[in-house]
């Protein structure tokens, strides 16, 4: 097994510096601190763009703490490039897990504020340590590592291709969402009935919700012990719309009374509520036995 990095390819390019810190790391530290500083804003300020909130939140949970912690603990050039990225993401997420376990045992628990204190706090403290340790590092020339030639940036063709990829992905996600939101089963309606237990007089709460493909009219009939009590014409209920009513039951009904509500689709009926034959199969049916 190898004991050095001779075969490896990610020799860091530490050439320019800001205040004695390699430029890329100075930028990284500054960015991580900015994300950490944005943490309290996310929690305390309303009206922030939702997309920005998600992006900042993700960076605070899955990148910034690990980046600064790894930079504080591994300030040298041995860890760079992909390895630093993996270690940053991995340490961030593991810190979130272990920090979350810790927060669970505190009186504050897992609230947004406690998450901000934990994640922003770790990021900023580690950034301070990293800053101190980075400034004390010898330059690449001093450690005898030949700096890597600057990596070529993406050419115009590559940028165009990546833009095309982003466009295709955006279109794909949009298509998938539209496709998934399109109903593939027939529409339906809900009917419910609940006793109004807390009320002074006995009664029931009735509700109809339409999830049909188009506006629908219904006929709803309420019977007690088989005798009609009342009926409603629920007209033109639009898809997603709900109709509700609370009905008092006739005084003096027995303890074993059967309260039954039947819902009919108006278009399927040839008669009015009062003349709906018992043999007519209701569209929906709910029953309370007192």
């Amino acid at each position: 097994m190898i004991r050095d990095r001779a075969w490896h390819h990610e020799t860091p390019a530490l050439q320019r510096s800001v205040w004695g810190i390699p430029t890329d790391r100075a930028l990284g530290l500054g960015f991580a601190c900015a994300v950490a500083a944005a943490g309290p804003v996310l929690v305390l300020v309303d009206g922030i763009n939702p997309l920005l909130r998600v992006v900042l939140g993700l960076l605070l949970v899955a990148l910034a703490p690990g980046y600064t912690v790894m930079l504080a603990a591994c300030p040298g050039p041995a860890i760079a490039g992909t390895e630093r990225l993996v270690l940053s993401v991995g340490v961030s997420m593991t810190l979130s897990v272990l920090g979350g376990l810790f927060l669970n045992w505190t009186p504050w628990g897992l609230q947004p504020e406690s998450w901000v204190v934990l994640l922003s706090g770790v990021t900023l403290v580690a950034a301070a340590v990293a800053l101190a340790r980075q400034r004390g590092l010898p330059t690449t020339a001093q450690v005898g590592v030949r700096p890597r030639p600057a990596r070529g940036g993406l050419g115009l063709g590559s940028v165009c291709l990546l833009t095309l990829a982003v466009t295709i992905i955006s279109a794909t996600i949009l298509l998938a969402r539209i496709s998934a939101a399109t109903p593939i089963e027939a529409g339906f309606s809900d009917l419910w009935m609940l006793p109004t237990d807390g009320a002074a007089t006995p009664g029931v709460r009735l509700g109809v919700r339409s999830q049909e493909e188009a506006s629908t009219s219904y006929l709803l009939r309420l019977d007690v012990d088989g005798a009609p009590v009342t009926a409603w014409h629920v007209t033109e209920l639009a898809p997603g719309e709900t109709w509700e009513a609370t009905v008092g039951l006739p005084p003096g009904i027995g303890r074993s009374a059967v309260v039954e509500a039947r819902l009919y689709r108006a278009e399927a009926l040839a008669t009015d509520a009062e003349t709906v034959r018992e043999a007519e199969i209701p569209y929906r049916r709910v029953v309370l036995r007192r």
């Binding site: 001779a6 998450w115 901000v116 030639p149 794909t172 089963e185 809900d190």
Partner: protein
């Protein structure tokens, strides 16, 4: 002179070994049939600056996105039951995988491009799963983990009881991270979960590449091994769902990478050692099986390292004294301290927090093993592969691809094992990976059983780490040794593509990977508006936390979006399902429901129309589990109507909710 300084004249190469070819750009470990001691650390001279280039990555990224678009068109075709749906789906999958497999097989592909390419495939396959259900979670386990996350957000604390998968709440890593993001960003659990798992998938793929790179010392092997890992049956869907294993696996691979990397570092060990500790401690509260798999592999590695220390030199070619230049030097490191840490934290978590895990896992493993023994004894017949429990048989080409994937792995594995022994026999890590790959054939037997099939399937995401490494070594060092031989590369790509497509077919049956109309007891295909509406109605009008008895699918919906406590078994272990199968609601059924203090019963009339695709309507242990030949009796489902004391509260045509509290709940 170290090979690290060797420069190649462009991309042309001579008879040198594949490992030292431009794939490594002159920076590779000196290849040799006889392992040698590695030279002291030396500064790197970069003979090939273009090795850092992105190469054709942007073009292959565009191809992969076209693949995702085709897959999405296939999903839409599935929803409208179009005959071209499968063609579009598989075209998309192949457009995503095949060109990148070809590019990774080439010797001249730069390392940086290889890293980019494996990320594109890994994230592309993850995106394919997200595009399957882009509005909400619809896979079976996702509802359980949604519930755990929701409980954390609701209570600000961990370990609320989870009625869907009880142990879900006891392994809260995924839920903690998702909850943190949801708390900070104000996003839904769905969006937060999708983003966290995307970050985890990126970490998994990169850590896997770096781990293989460290183990094989070849970016070419690393790239192909990472690609081959993605052919495991669970990579495309199961390990992309919102479930605890989807975060545990990246943590475990990250831990393994950090352990190996920490051993190769001189400077900066403190940071990577800390990463090792954090990773191992994060795996333990993430997922039970992943913890045991990680501990198992670390123990295996330790045993192999011990073997290398005590084995006679003539077996391994290792010189007894490292200073002796005539022989190779054993890799004397092992992950001893990490094993101890993983064991102690794993046991402590099991004992003090997650004691339920034993009762959760034992029946699954025991049922599978006992069925396997009975199968060997000829007492039972084997499960028919590629046929679901409603009787539908997969198309012949899917069956052929599924069998081919297993056979092709089994055929190539011996060559990989031989090559690992020849090349890496002084390296305890590489040898441990090869030994781990031997478990694959043994795991296949359980696939023939009804109860053990899932357990067997669930081993693949762990076993494919060593399998992928071993196969990649075989591919690079034997089959693709002659650089850029088009015929050989093409055959390799076909071989890898067959394993990949077979893996998807074995991992998820067609009804599971393609969206479409409602099917009875078919997990993701049974999630539709009626069930979701009923669950939301329950939460809105009845409130959360009521005890309910219902079938498998409505149990998921009621336990998650409904916020209810689904009761599945009585105190003596009898399944509530038995109360649903009898034609009448008699004293026995009432007593069973009463023993579970069930207040509400949710009945889905559609259960009486078709056989259950997954083999059960409710739970394992219900009447005719995995052996049903006729659908449930509709009269049995209608028996709660017109019973004194039973209130029929809600009706949406297929789903009816009854209040049976007067019969079952003590006043």
């Amino acid at each position: 002179m170290s090979h690290a300084f060797r420069a190649f004249p462009g991309n042309r190469r001579g008879a040198a070994d594949a490992l030292s070819l431009p794939d490594d750009f002159g920076l590779g470990q000196p290849p040799s049939d006889r392992p040698t001691h590695v030279a002291a650390p030396t500064p790197v001279v970069r003979a090939f600056p273009h090795a850092d280039g992105w190469g054709l990555l942007p073009a292959f990224t565009v191809l992969a996105t076209v693949g995702s678009l085709l897959v999405t068109v296939g999903y839409h075709g599935g929803r409208i039951e179009a005959p071209w749906a499968d063609l579009a789906f598989w075209s998309g999958v192949l457009v995503m995988f095949l060109p990148i497999a070809w590019r990774l097989a080439l010797a001249r592909t730069p390392r940086r491009e290889r890293i980019g390419l494996v990320c594109v495939v890994g994230l592309g396959l993850y995106l394919n799963k997200v595009l399957h259900s882009p509005l909400a979670f619809t896979f079976h386990d996702e509802f359980a983990h949604w519930r755990t996350t929701n409980d954390i957000l609701r209570t600000d604390h961990l370990f609320s009881p989870n009625p869907i998968i009880a142990v879900s709440a006891l392994y809260p890593s995924l839920h903690l991270i998702t909850g943190a993001l949801a708390d900070l960003s104000g996003s839904t659990i769905f969006l937060a979960g999708v983003l966290i798992l995307a970050a985890a998938r990126l970490m998994l793929v990169l850590a896997l590449f770096l781990f293989f790179d460290l183990a094989a010392r070849s970016p070419r092997v690393a790239g192909l091994a990472t690609l081959l890992y993605m052919t495991n049956p669970n990579f495309a869907y199961f390990d992309a769902q919102y479930a605890y294993e989807s975060i545990a696996l990246p943590f475990a691979v990250f831990a393994m990478f950090a352990v190996v990397r920490q051993q190769t570092l001189k400077d900066g060990r403190l940071g990577v050692t800390m990463a090792v500790l954090l990773a191992v401690m994060a795996v333990v509260p993430s997922h039970h099986l992943t913890t045991y798999a990680l501990v198992g592999f670390l123990v295996l590695w330790m045993v192999v390292a011990l073997f290398l220390r005590i084995a006679p030199a003539r077996w391994t070619g290792i010189a007894p004294d490292p200073s002796e230049q005539s022989g190779a030097v054993a890799d004397r490191r092992d992950p001893g301290g990490v094993v101890l840490l993983a064991l102690v934290t794993g046991l402590a978590w099991l004992i003090y927090i997650a004691g339920l895990t034993v009762g959760y896992l034992t029946p699954v493993v025991w049922s599978g093993l006992s069925e396997l023994f009975r199968l060997i004894a000829g007492e039972v017949i084997a499960r028919e592969l590629f046929r679901d429990y409603s009787g539908q048989l997969a198309p012949i080409w899917e069956r052929a691809a599924g069998f081919s994937s297993v056979i092709l792995i089994l055929l190539a594995l011996p060559f990989g094992l031989l090559r690992v022994w020849q090349r890496y026999r002084t390296d305890s890590l590489a040898l441990a990976l090869a030994v781990g790959a031997l478990a694959y054939p043994a795991s296949l037997g359980l696939r023939l059983t009804h109860f053990g099939a899932e357990a067997s399937n669930r081993t693949s995401e762990f076993l494919f780490v060593p399998i992928a490494f071993t196969l990649a070594v075989a591919a690079v060092e034997l089959w693709l040794k002659r650089p850029d031989n088009w015929v050989r590369i093409s055959l390799f790509v076909v071989w890898a593509t067959l394993i990949f497509t077979g893996g998807i077919i074995v991992g998820v049956p067609r009804w599971g990977r393609m969206p479409g109309p409602y099917l009875v007891s078919a997990d993701t295909r049974s999630i539709e508006p009626k069930g979701m509406t009923a669950a939301e109605w329950m939460r809105t009008f009845i409130g959360s936390g009521s005890t309910i008895a219902t079938d498998r699918i409505n149990g998921l919906l009621m336990g998650s979006y409904g916020g209810q406590m689904t009761v599945r078994y009585s105190h003596d272990g009898t399944g509530m399902a038995w109360a649903f199968f009898t034609p009448t609601l008699g004293p026995t059924e009432i007593e069973l429901l009463r023993s579970g203090q069930v207040r509400y019963v949710v009945v889905d009339r559609r259960l009486g129309t078709r056989l259950p695709i997954v083999g059960v309507y409710f739970e394992m242990g219900e009447p005719d589990t995995y052996s049903r030949t006729v659908p449930m009796d509709p009269a049995a489902l209608a028996k709660f109507d017109d019973v004194d004391g039973v209130q029929r509260l809600y009706d949406n045509g297929d789903i009816v909710i009854y209040d049976i509290g007067a019969l079952t709940v003590d006043p």
